[in-house]
Each structure stands twice: as structure tokens, then as C-alpha cells.
Amino acid sequence: MITINDIQSKTLTDLFEKYPFLPGFFEEHTLELNGNLDIKLVNYLDFLDEEEEQENRAMDKSQVLGSMCTYIDQMLAFLGEDEDDGVHSITLLPGTNKSGEAEQFGELTIKKSEIVCIVGPTGSGKSRLLADIEWVAQGDTPTSRSVLINGEAGDSKWRLNSGNKLVAQLSQNMNFVMDLTVYEFIELHAQSRLVEDIESVINKIFAQANDLAGEKFELSTPITSLSGGQSRALMIADTAILSKSPIVLIDEIENAGIDRKRALDLLVGEEKIVLMATHDPILALMGDKRIVIKNGGIHKVIETSDEEQNLLSDLERMDSVVQKMRNRLRQGEIIKKEDIGF
């Protein structure tokens, strides 16, 4: 634990060298850094003793110092985590459905790089399942389910640590809202994750996203002008590579402007646990298992059989027929029986 005494008599120059992330704290607290940085922190903060500054900021020196210590501790902890501390598997232990009946599965373990689909009518309890995972339920949520991390009773650090969320989410109705180019956007995200080699991360994500997207885009393209498929591609590549969350929840991926198979491969290749809510048979069959939800509970867990998996190529053929027809319509052409081809 860093204490106020550890930092207050160091100079800003020394502190920034020791804690390269610290200028971000000054920036967010609107503490200006355009003067001499060889001044001791405690002296730099002297201006906060003025009544007017205190009134404006509603914060005095000791509060700023205390807050800074907490921040430094958090960032050091964040940087100190390594792969081994990560999540290798999650295990769901049954609870009850809305009627209080026991859920119909023994125990379900999902490992890194596995894809598990979630199916069931809207309102059947998909969000609750997800929330249970995110909250690392210990029999203390409305479903009484428990969630184990790496086979052990969940660590509640996952519950309240905002920099360390267990689940990253991608869904159809998510949009980019920031006024940034693709480059600036990835850069900003990388900075917030305290990434060291930002350039190479930007290039990696950019290349992967373009690989997934049907139509190519540039680093200088504003993110708000990306097409639906391009946005999805960038979101998936960015989440796969930059998000620290070990679990990725996908809520449908529309089959337009993005290579869905490769998108899943990318997430799996980055060792994510992938949960996918979908009723699209092609996506569902790409999963290793699927969880069927009914009446607020897990009704059963189905393993994708070889027989089902063999259907995938037929389904993809049918899908491409429809896609081609769609393109023809767009071009103002006529659709014919031959287009169907079987």
C-alpha cells in the first residue's frame, strides 16, 4: 500500500518516472502540468489550500493525495497481474428456475477457447444467467446458482473491480459513439489498458478487423462512419485483443459484412471463453455445446453432435444462396429458380 508519506515529498518528475500512468490522474482531476515538474508534490498542491480553489473543486489537499495513493495502488496491481492469475475455466452449479424447481444439469464447466451457445425465448433468463456469471454468483442471487472460477468458489474481486470485469459484451445494437478515427479509437483503448507497445497493438487490431470485414476500411476512417459489418469487425477484433475480460458474450452476429467463422476463430485463438446467444443455426452449430434456457432456468445442456456438425456445410450452402439472391435484388436483377441450385 502506497501512503501519502511515500509520495508527497517526491518531485513530480520522479513520480511520473516511477508511475508512468500518473499524468492521467492529473489530467482527469484537471490538475495542470504546464509548469515546473521538479517541484515536490506537496508543494505543487499548495494552491489547493486557497479557499477559492477548494470551493471550486470541493476537494482539499489531503483528499487529492489520498485518492492518488488509491489510484497508484490499483494501477500497480493491474500491471502486476500475469497470465497465471487469469481465468482458465468457469463452472456453473445448478440452482432453480422461476418456479423454484431444480435446474436440469449436473455441473457445467466451460474452458478457455470453448464456444457455448445460449438458446431460449426472450425473457427466459438469458440475462440472468449472464449476470450470475458476471457477479460470480455464490448461491446468493435469485437463481441460487453458483459459479466457480478455475474450479474454485468465486473470488469476489470480480464483483466490484471495474478494471477487471469478467465478461465483455458484444451485441447487435451496440454502436460507436465517440468522435474518433479508427487509429485514435484503438489508441485510446490501449492507453486505458496501460499497454506498452501501443503501435503494434493498433496495427494488429486493425489488420484483424479488416480481415473480418467484408469491405476494407482505413486507420483514418472515423469510427462512426463504419458500416454495420465493419463496426462489428472492429469491435470483435478490439475485444479479442485488448479487452482484459476472459469471457466474451456475443448477442447474435448478423450475417452481413463480416466473416463470422473467422470472428469466432479470432476470439477462440485469443483464448477467450465465448458465450453466444443466438438462434441462427449456423452460429449455433459452431458452438461446442448449447445451453437451453426455459422459465428462468437451465433446462438442459446439449453437446453439438457430429451429425449436427455435418449439417453445417449444407447450411452454409443454403445461406450463400440467400446471400446471392440478396445481392441480385440489390443490383436490380431478377431472381430465378436456377439460383437456388438444389
Partner: protein, 232 residues
């Protein structure tokens, strides 16, 4: 009775989050009431009433809504006790970025939304900086990366806070929030003698007192002048 103050910029999702959270609290058999503070107008009381929640509203009119809040919070607390509430929630729109209605011993929740822009956390001031719990809403419509960046900005501004994502539409995260808002060991009987986390500037100038004429000779009291950089 437990007391929780919820505040946040207009339309950030306070009512939506409170309603979803109340749902979970009521399922535990607890009686909840809400008092909404606003400036000129609010419909929120109707929303709460529809959900079967005991509700009162207070409009501050020409006063700073946060000043109005402190002047009335004891009365409101007594109302809650009289109604036999287990949990009383106050909702106030953070219209004055300088003041904030947080009381030292009362759980303070700040609600802000992902759409408000990444520079919002540093602009909001004490309402965000001194909250115990920060709820981020509208995560369902922005990208994962934007959510992460936004949350990290909030964390930088208030590293000590518990930061949670709650979806005001689906209620995702609201159950979890509800577990942080009620503690059966806490018993608020009165706020008399309790203290605000920060003093609220009085800001009493001649214009507060009804002056309408412009010009230095009409300005009295707490007057501050803009620095246009041409001081000699």
C-alpha cells in the same frame, strides 16, 4: 430505515436504475419509498407511483436544487420513518455541478451514462468524485471498448468508488446493486447533526436577490470576475 442518495446528470438513467433496483429490494419483502428532488419539473413521481412505490417530490424552483435538498432532507427522512419504510431513496438531478447532496454517513450513488462522452467524468465534479458507488448506464448501446475507456476514466476520477454497470432498460446489474444498498444493521432515525461531505458555496450575489440591471455598480456580495487574461 436505510437511506440512500442517488444523483446524476439529467436523463442519465437514475429513475430507470432505481426502479429496477427497487424491484429486487421489494422481492426481499422490504418496503421502499422514493423522494425526487428537481428544479422546475418532473414526471418521475408518476413513474414511481405506477410501480407501486411510495413517492414524494420537491421542486426547488429558483434555488440550487442541492441547497434545497439539504434544507429538506431531515423532513424527508421523518416522512420515510412515518411511512414505515425499510429503505428510502432520494433521487436528485445533478443540475449544479458544484454542489452535491451527499451526506457523510449516507450511502451516495452517482449515476452517469456511457453516452455522455469520455470527458464527462472530469467535468462532473464532486457529485462523481465523492460518491461511494458509481453506476454507469446505457452500456447496451456503445461498444465494449468505449465502456472500458469510460469506466477507466471514472475510476481515475474516483478511485475509491465501487463502479458498476447497470442497464436501466433490462435491469441487468440492478439485483447486484440492490445488495449494496440495504444493510439491516443500519438504522437511520434522524440526520440532525450529520454533515455534508462538502460545504455548498452560498453564491449569494445581487442577482440571487433579484437584481436585473447589468453593470459593476449593481453587483454586490459574492461576485467573481472572469479572467480574460488582460490583467495588468
Amino acid at each position: 430505515m436505510n437511506l440512500v442518495t442517488v444523483s446524476g446528470p439529467p436523463s442519465s438513467g437514475k429513475t430507470a436504475v432505481i426502479l429496477k433496483t427497487i424491484d429486487s429490494v421489494q422481492k426481499r419483502g422490504l418496503k421502499v419509498g422514493v423522494v425526487k428532488f428537481d428544479c422546475l419539473y418532473t414526471d418521475d413521481d408518476i413513474l414511481y407511483e405506477k410501480a407501486g412505490v411510495k413517492v414524494k417530490k420537491g421542486l426547488s424552483g429558483s434555488l440550487c436544487p442541492d441547497h434545497y435538498f439539504v434544507s429538506n432532507i431531515e423532513e424527508v427522512t421523518q416522512w420515510g420513518l412515518k411511512e414505515g419504510l425499510d429503505l428510502l431513496i432520494t433521487e436528485s438531478a445533478g443540475l449544479c455541478n458544484r454542489c452535491s447532496p451527499y451526506i457523510k454517513t449516507v450511502t451516495a450513488v452517482c449515476v452517469i451514462d456511457n453516452l455522455s462522452g469520455i470527458n464527462t467524468p472530469k467535468k462532473i465534479g464532486p457529485m462523481l468524485k465523492t460518491a461511494d458507488i458509481v453506476i454507469i448506464t446505457k452500456g447496451d448501446i456503445v461498444s465494449q471498448a468505449e465502456r472500458e475507456v469510460f469506466a477507466s476514466r471514472v475510476n481515475t476520477v474516483n478511485p475509491g468508488a465501487t463502479i458498476m454497470h447497470v442497464n436501466g432498460l433490462t435491469g441487468q446489474g440492478a439485483y447486484e446493486l440492490s445488495t449494496l444498498l440495504y444493510d439491516d444493521k443500519v438504522e437511520v432515525k434522524t440526520l440532525v447533526g450529520e454533515k455534508l461531505r462538502f460545504s455548498m458555496p452560498s453564491a449569494l450575489c445581487s442577482y440571487c436577490l433579484g437584481e436585473t440591471r447589468i453593470g459593476e455598480s449593481y453587483q454586490m456580495g459574492n461576485v467573481r470576475k472572469i479572467d480574460l487574461g488582460d490583467k495588468k
